[in-house]
Symmetry: C2
Subunit: 715 residues, 2 copies
């Protein structure tokens, strides 16, 4: 690579001063210059992060297929209306169904991952059926029921599209509090599904407005006057021949949203809708012909499938961050602004400004942290699911399985929240780093923000999920104190004695630049904040509070503990991942990893000083080390972004074009999207305005017969 | 007020258990219950914050007029297309022009302030002419030129609409680096305006796409081959009779943006466009008939008008935060989620959750801080402008005037950045605090975010502005060290000896809850960080760097210093304001003020521990004090929001309705905006999809004449 750079330098020596100036400000030349700096094998990095060459090649194949598929054209996406977008989103079902039926599950999952980055709205709409509806069947239906609905068309989408009706107008996170009722009518052997109040209206139901024939409805099971809690029922919504709604079904469109307008979210009201008893999915809770209800002993085991979404969102946060950073960093490599002394009027690249490095390099490092964590989280989930699938009551290792489930549940909750928040901030920071152009729809970051924002709310509100992790940390702490050996993610709580009060014991400042020191620092800080939250919780208990109330009372400490734990967790995953890498890839990744570690400490300096792990002088050293690591990583920023290997089609932003020719592409895009032509409303609106009779009303002030003069103010 | 509450309680005692449950979950009753808690006179608070009853009455008058003006209908704003929105925005000119010509400047300013909260896109489009274009004339034209353009219609908008062409595709913040040229042609006594490159294309020009007849163009003045820097020219763009562009003018539409689509931003290319020499605005730089150029000695004095926008944005950040918080806090007062022990199944109000108080109450306190600061900033600006207007070369107090200008310039730069960032985060936090409903366009926060986001970039990129303040702080520090008495905003730097190393010296923890202690704490921390940045800067100079390069090198420390200075500055303005208030208003405001002070310390705990103003134990106390202050302020949250006095029309969100009947209003809005009707694309798209012939391609796999069997893999 450095050969290419030398060649370029050699070419430069034959240029005239004017040519040299032009070449210096030419964005393509600027980009090539950056690319020539690569100190590692970009392809090898891509393969490493993809988890093997096979995956890289598969991804490239899918990207190419999508780019060439006319149904997946994306260049005009910012200028079509919500209605057009919804139609186009529906059209895409065709090509995805073809692939779904003709490729392996693994390949199709990879395809969905890529599609989600290209068109999050379509991904959601398709996912509503195959992820949520089919997922609800798989989690809640008996094998016989599953076969029945698959045979009815739920798998092939023949005469059948499903949706997932959980949330209500008045109820989101509190699923047990849903109001919709499903009352067993023994006489007719049916359940009556009913929306008793306005707030019980099913709300936000993806696919309800225009797509679905059937719905998985979560409703309060009532048998013989007794409530059994929220269960899942299949309720037909529309006649698949006409798409007319069925009797008792009232459906409306939720309309315009912040983003993802390709998905037709709707509301549903049920008015005494009878469904056969067999439409209650009875894998867990069973209702007999005579109204006997059998409830499962291990409800917990059913939660596993619900975690899939959260787990995916950790990796997705990494992927969307890659896309946003590809745009902002490539733009910063070619955008020039202000000249410094001795630059002969050539303006400086944004990327050469220390402050711009500070804006983007820590986010780049955080992205790698999320990618490593996402990979590990997925593995953790897969291991858990395979253990869970075989698990049943009475198993010898059942306790252990449930322990693993609890850990995965809490960890995925906390990381989903932490990473989606990180990603949303990254997108916004990238947008702002593109200056005014970040506000243009065509540069892609605005829509990325609007589409991504919902990830902080759905599949569990981020604040609530963070608090769940906090609760798990408190209970883990209390278990550790009582002598229990904890699972690895919270294993540091087994070393409380060593960690509480521990100070950083390096001989010289430079020794702080080590994954071991940073790891220890995070363990010390996390042990302290988890302990504080736990003590606060216990103090509330001592005051006589119920456990739930005590948890609420200490929620700020819980949130804080969970946030810091997540920082430490991400750093550990990153450091572990980097430790397995060698050679040039290791050389750059270790810098990126240290940057993440020190940046995360700097961001939480208050905690490190509070528990006195670092001294003020050490924190100062860390601050200046972040500066210099930003410089180091900046040097390899374009090669690192290149290693993300997202095609221009995927990135879909003129500012993020690989060739660096940003202004040409941007101008072309704006012109193509907004052809010059007739003035749309000159005659109608502007002409009458600017040609109107102008005269101040004062001038026309007539006395209208009244004889008073204006001067008579005392009158 | 508490009488009303008692009365309500009394009424409750006559309710049956079912009635009581229904009344407990009724959102209107929940809202009334909150309103009844008011411990201060809401009207008096409104008047205080409005700066007098006259202002309150005027605002109410204007709100009512706008609400009843059919041109200002806003209920359907989320469902109209960009093209429709642009037309509607243009239509509004009519009614605004009427008011402009018939009311006092003060009244009209208040109207614009209110309009900006209702329809930021229209406010921008109208402001492009009257703020930017006319402002450019006022700042740059001689009295004769001003009269000429006013007489041509620039004031009455007759046959004339102006725009402001400063930024270019390749140039934003660096105004001296603009590429557009204005070359004097002595032979014809004209300037030739020219766009030499693609990157010189004027970009983002509000009003250019469809509105403007004329433009204030910033271009490089070139006379006899010599460059004189960027000057301002009036360039006609379109024939006002036909709106055809004039020869040499090429205009296009910038198209879709993140928000504010009512404004028709465009791009402009000039191809050797000749304008009379007199179209150079010659208040400062003059070019004679024979090409003699006279440059002004005190260019600085021309900057004053440019600050108007920034100053306004400080107060605006407070106003938009009020709007966002009105929605999120009112919703939190009626939304219920999960029940706690002993609540008989009645779910808890969001506002009663300590974590929800933590999410919103500090932002509420920050809003008051921004409002107090905005008021003072406006006064500071007005004082400066009145001094500046009279100032001319040779004045005895000129140095002092320039000092005031510098302070206003830097302070407004830093506060514009700090407050717009605060406001944007507040809007997003409010959106997320509304859960899923925050993602609906109809609840208003999504569009508010999208519209507001540009405030962090225009009128000076926030990062660059923050760095400007940082630069001012460094130079102030150095002046202070050299013995100069500084202006009040940075006056603490005159007390470095007392502040550096100072620790909080309270006798007991509770004494921290005092504006004096918090003010001192901020002064100590700010003195330290400004000093650090200055020492870093000086070290760079010692290494032989040029001053500009040295400033870049220490930019992270500069940014950090400016950020902390802004926190302290806001707290001081708030505390000063509260000190002037008495009685019940003081009682609540002092709590809000302490909450802001302690929250801002908690947010920056790292700095307070770093410089050891507070001990770790004191920081812990501050953390728990923020919790209890959040509870206190939560108690008065609805009365405080009511005191913002924004009408339902202004807030334009069903979740923020004053009556609290959120679900009814929300459902009505969604139904009205999305009437139920025929399926838009069932026959076209869904029917062919779900009725297609389903069969896996494998099943149809034909050998097509080939005799190989699939088993022959070794073949």
């Amino acid at each position: 690579m450095s050969t290419a750079f030398k060649r370029m330098q050699a070419v430069k020596q034959h240029l005239s001063p004017e040519q040299e100036y032009a070449s210096a400000v030419d964005p393509v030349a600027s980009m090539n210059e950056e690319r020539a700096k690569a100190a590692f094998d970009i392809r090898a990095m891509t393969i490493l992060m993809d988890g093997g060459e096979k995956n890289t090649i598969l991804k490239e194949k899918i990207m190419q297929e999508l780019e060439r598929d006319p149904l997946f054209k994306m260049h005009d996406i910012h200028d079509i209306s919500k209605d057009e977008l919804r139609e186009r989103t529906m059209e895409k079902f065709r090509s995805m169904l073809h692939h779904l039926q003709n490729e392996s599950v693994e390949t199709f999952k990879k395809r969905m991952e890529i599609v989600s980055l290209i068109d999050p709205g379509f991904w959601t709409r398709f996912g509503v059926h195959y992820g949520l509806f089919v997922g609800a069947l798989q989690s809640n239906a008996t094998p016989g029921q599953l076969g029945y609905w698959f045979q009815k068309g739920a798998l092939s989408l023949s005469g059948f599209i499903g949706c997932f009706a959980m949330t209500e107008l008045g109820h989101g996170s509190n699923i047990p509090g849903l109001e919709t009722t499903a009352t067993f009518d023994e006489a007719s052997d049916t359940f009556v599904i009913h929306t008793p109040t306005l707030t019980a209206t099913k709300w936000w139901i993806g696919g309800a407005a225009h797509s679905a024939t059937h719905s998985a409805v979560f409703a309060q099971l009532i048998v013989k006057g007794k409530r059994y809690g929220t269960k899942c029922f299949v309720v037909p919504l529309r006649d698949p021949k006409t798409y007319n709604t069925l009797p008792g079904i009232n459906i409306g469109d939720i309309g315009k949203k912040m983003g993802r307008d390709g998905i037709d979210n709707g509301w549903i009201q049920f008015t005494s809708v009878s469904i056969p008893r067999s439409y209650l999915l009875q894998k867990h809770t069973k209702v007999s012909r005579t109204g006997d209800v059998v409830e499962p002993k291990l409800q917990q085991l059913t939660y596993g499938a619900l975690l899939q979404g959260r787990v995916t969102m950790v990796a997705d946060s990494g992927h969307f961050s890659k896309k946003a950073l590809s745009i902002a960093i490539r733009y910063a490599a070619v955008r020039r602004q202000f000249s410094n002394s001795g630059s002969n009027g050539v303006e400086t690249k944004l990327l050469d400004y220390p402050i711009h490095q500070r804006r983007l390099m820590p986010l780049l490092s955080q992205t790698f942290a999320m990618l490593f964590t996402g990979t590990e989280m997925t593995e953790m989930y897969n291991v858990m699911m395979s253990r869970l699938e075989g698990a049943k009551e009475g198993d010898a290792d059942l306790d252990e399985v449930i322990e693993v489930l609890k850990e995965t549940h809490s960890t995925s909750a906390g990381l989903k929240a932490f990473c989606t928040w990180n990603c949303l901030s990254t997108i916004e920071a990238c947008r702002q780093a593109c200056g005014g152009h970040g506000y243009s729809s065509y540069t892609g970051l605005a829509a990325m923000y609007q589409d991504f924002a919902v990830q902080c709310t759905w599949e569990g509100d981020n604040t609530i999920l963070t608090l769940q992790l906090g609760r798990y940390l408190i209970s883990s702490y209390r278990e550790a104190v009582s002598g229990k050996k904890l699972s690895p993610g919270v294993g540091y709580l087994n070393n409380l004695d060593q960690l509480i009060g521990k100070q950083c014991s390096v001989n010289k400042m430079e020794d702080i630049l080590s994954p071991q020191v940073i790891t220890e620092g995070w363990q010390v800080v996390c042990a302290n904040v988890v302990r504080n939250a736990s003590l606060e919780f216990e103090a509330c208990l001592k005051k006589g509070m119920q456990a739930d109330d005590a948890y609420e009372e200490c929620s700020q400490s819980r949130l804080y503990a969970a946030k810091l734990h997540s920082f430490g967790y991400l750093f550990n995953r990153f450091a572990d991942g980097v430790a397995k890498v060698t050679g040039d890839l290791h050389n750059i990744l270790i810098k990126v990893c240290l940057l993440y570690g020190l940046y995360s400490i700097e961001e939480n300096a208050g905690a490190f000083l509070q528990y006195q792990y670092f001294t003020p002088a050490q924190i100062e050293f860390i601050r200046s080390s972040v500066n210099s690591l930003c410089k180091d990583v900046r040097d390899q920023a374009i090669p690192l972004v290149d290693s993300f290997n997202l095609s221009d089609y995927m990135i879909n932003s003129p500012l993020g074009r690989k060739d660096g020719n940003v202004y040409v592409h941007y101008f072309d895009q704006v012109k193509r999207s907004n052809p010059q032509g007739e003035h749309p409303y000159f005659d109608k609106l502007i002409k009458p305005l600017i040609e109107r009779e102008v005269g101040y009303d004062e001038d026309e002030d007539e006395e209208a017969g009244l004889e008073d003069s204006d001067d008579d103010e005392d009158y």
